[in-house]
């Protein structure tokens, strides 16, 4: 016995220990340049959201009656007083955009938290529960998915009443089936692996197996989905705001700002362009990050 032990032990290990999980993750994440750019843009977005009162030159709802629809400073008629110009009520566009970042961030965090928590919980239950409950949960999700997401959100807001909070709840409801399906699929494929059987033979109770053994191994796709849902949440809330069913004026939410600016599209391009650009950049940054996460976390793509 001692013989086997010493034989295998001495040369078996590599002199340089392989990198840890986190290091390995970071090194493959940073290989993706887009993802790193996305991460930095996202961090900047967070910073802007956190420091909005310090960064914004004016209050978001302060109206300057002497300066209606002033163009950005580089255009004729613009001035450095309002760097990106003003809207039809004489409010500073830059300040409103900066405050808008707060809303988008808040929306993203809340929606993703609600959708992920409910979705993952239901998904794990569906993956482990007896067939009847599984079928029941999945049929329910099918029903939710039978409605175009934006339409369902619109109708939910119509029921709950138009407000930012209700819009977020509606979007969380619409996003959550994707988490259920994803989690269930991941659970089903993990569940049949030998280490789960081993944990059961070791005496693990169902709850421990579900949440302590299996769930941590399903997290990679869920994290990616959460990142991508963050961008969907921002996008859909803006869309609801744009349709007048989300945040209500004068809230400086980007989609709502766009809706207010719609009638000026051919007269004052800036009131339309900048809020949309903010949405696009934020969503793009998060999606870039999400793609990077996927590549770094999904070993199937990593090794190919």
């Amino acid at each position: 016995m001692t013989d086997t032990a010493s034989q295998s032990a001495s040369p078996a290990t590599t002199p340089t220990a392989p990198p840890s999980r986190l290091r390995e993750f970071w090194s493959s994440f940073k290989e993706n340049r887009g993802a790193v750019v996305g991460l930095f843009v996202f961090l900047a977005f967070l910073l802007v959201a956190a420091l909005a009162p310090i960064l914004a030159p004016y209050a978001p709802d302060a109206q300057y009656r002497d300066a209606l629809l002033v163009p950005p400073f580089w255009q004729d008629g613009g001035s450095t007083r309002f760097l990106l110009g003003t809207d039809a009520l004489g409010r500073d566009l830059l300040s409103r955009l900066i405050y808008g970042a707060r809303f988008s961030f808040f929306i993203g965090v809340l929606v993703v938290t609600i959708a992920t928590t409910c979705g993952v919980l239901l998904g794990v239950i569906a993956g482990f529960a007896p067939r009847i409950i599984d079928t029941l949960i999945m049929r329910l999700m099918d029903i939710v998915l039978s409605f175009p997401s934006l339409l369902l959100a619109l109708v939910l807001v119509a029921i709950l009443g138009p407000s930012l909070l209700n819009a977020m709840i509606a979007i969380a409801v619409v996003l959550q089936p994707h988490f259920v399906r994803l989690t269930r699929a991941a659970v089903l494929s993990e569940r049949s692996k030998d280490y789960v059987t081993a944990a059961r033979i070791a005496g693990g109770r169902p709850l421990r197996i579900m949440f302590k053994t299996v769930l941590p191994n399903c997290l990679a796709p869920i994290i990616v989905q959460a990142a991508l849902s963050f961008s969907t949440a921002v996008l859909d809330t803006a869309a609801l705001g744009f349709l007048g069913m989300g945040a209500q004026p004068p809230t400086p939410e980007w989609g709502t700002m766009l809706a207010e600016a719609r009638e000026f599209i051919l007269r004052a391009w800036w009131v339309v362009t900048f809020p949309g650009l903010c949405i696009l950049i934020t969503v793009l940054a998060i999606n870039l990050m999400g793609d990077g996460l996927r590549d770094a976390l999904d070993p199937k793509l990593k090794r190919s």
Binding site: T4, Q7, S8, A9, D194, A198, I201, A202, G203, R205
Partner: protein
């Protein structure tokens, strides 16, 4: 010979396969009547091709699934179709090592956590310090080093992972170890390391092994008794030397003959089996082996042969065949 630690009588495990539209539900007879005993310090090897029910047998013996029929008696406790009780001591008695060293360890747990988990769940009276100590002792017993304790499975080679899997199985001090193709996924040079470890541990801890394998040369080396199964049914059973030197069932003989031996000077004429293993959902009438058998007779098509000779439940040589290979012929193989 010491008293058996496990007795299985007429174990069956069937699965109902739900039929689709216009297809009736079918019964998959994965395991169809196996009786054997396991004795401390001895190894019973189960040999068969894929789909023969070897792995189902492993799942039933480890009490992951209850038998559909028949019963297991483990340490005096009966386990029938109603399933095993949540009796910790009973479950701790039978542990398993799986084939795939990559799928059998939780990638999110360190080796230490993996080893301590069984104690944490089954021996709550043992404190943290003691758990830690026992896990570290076990680690050195299977030939791994102390610094491996805090590492994750992905940092290990297949052979090392298999050592960890053995260590985990031993943490609860079982009496029976089910080894489901424990070395099939390993390279030859690693395979012998793990086999030595297994034989060594058996001797030290007086374990009973149920060794499942398709590799006859490994079986020949490690087994005391051999059971050959075909389509879920044992077709021949007996002491290793008898099975290898004088097989009576045509399937056993064909299996031996088909296994290539690492000796170029002895290129024998193989017994060629026709066709492939039928689906366990559509088992042939009569002897399950009859469509592929070269000694088939009229009776084989209609009457299923019973295991005969020896004592089906307690050692001796027995086989299920109407027209067995004559004893003088077997010696030639």
């Amino acid at each position: 010979m010491s008293a058996p630690v496990l007795t299985a009588s007429n174990l069956k495990r069937h699965y109902e396969v739900k039929g689709g539209f216009m297809q009736p539900a079918a019964t998959l007879r994965a395991l169809d009547g196996a009786s054997f005993t396991l004795t401390p310090g001895k190894t019973l090897a189960v040999v068969g091709e894929s789909g023969s029910g070897k792995s189902t047998l492993a799942r039933v013996v480890t009490m992951i699934e209850p038998p559909t029929e028949g019963e297991l008696v483990i340490g005096g406790k009966k386990i029938g179709p109603e399933g095993a009780s949540r009796d910790r001591d009973l479950r701790a008695m039978v542990q398993i090592v799986f084939q795939d060293p990559y799928g059998s360890l939780n990638p999110r747990q360190t080796i230490g956590q993996t080893l301590m988990e069984p104690l944490l769940l089954n021996r709550p009276e043992i404190d943290r310090k003691e758990r830690d100590r026992r896990a570290r002792d076990m680690l050195s017993m299977v030939g791994l080093r102390p610094e491996h304790f805090d590492r994750y499975p992905h940092m290990f080679s297949g052979g090392q992972r298999q050592r960890v899997a053995v260590a985990r199985a031993l943490m609860l001090e079982p009496k029976i170890l089910v080894l489901d193709e424990p070395v099939s996924a390993l390279d030859l040079s690693i395979q012998s390391q793990v086999l030595n470890l297994l034989m060594d541990i058996q001797e030290r801890m007086d374990l009973a092994y149920l060794f499942i394998s398709h590799d006859l040369s490994v079986v020949r080396h490690i087994a005391d008794e051999v059971m050959v199964i075909y389509l879920g049914e044992p077709v021949e059973m007996g002491p290793k030397d008898v099975i290898f030197d004088a097989p009576r069932h045509p399937y056993t003989k064909a299996l031996m003959s088909a296994t290539p031996m690492a000796d170029p000077s002895d290129r024998k004429e193989r017994i060629k089996l026709e066709g492939e293993l039928p689906s366990p959902m559509a088992k042939p009438e009569g002897c399950p082996f009859n469509p592929r058998c070269w000694r088939r007779q009229e009776i084989c098509l209609s009457v299923e042969p019973e295991l005969q000779g020896g004592n089906p439940a307690g050692g001796g040589h027995c086989f299920a065949c109407h027209n067995p290979v004559p004893e003088d012929e077997t010696a030639a193989a």
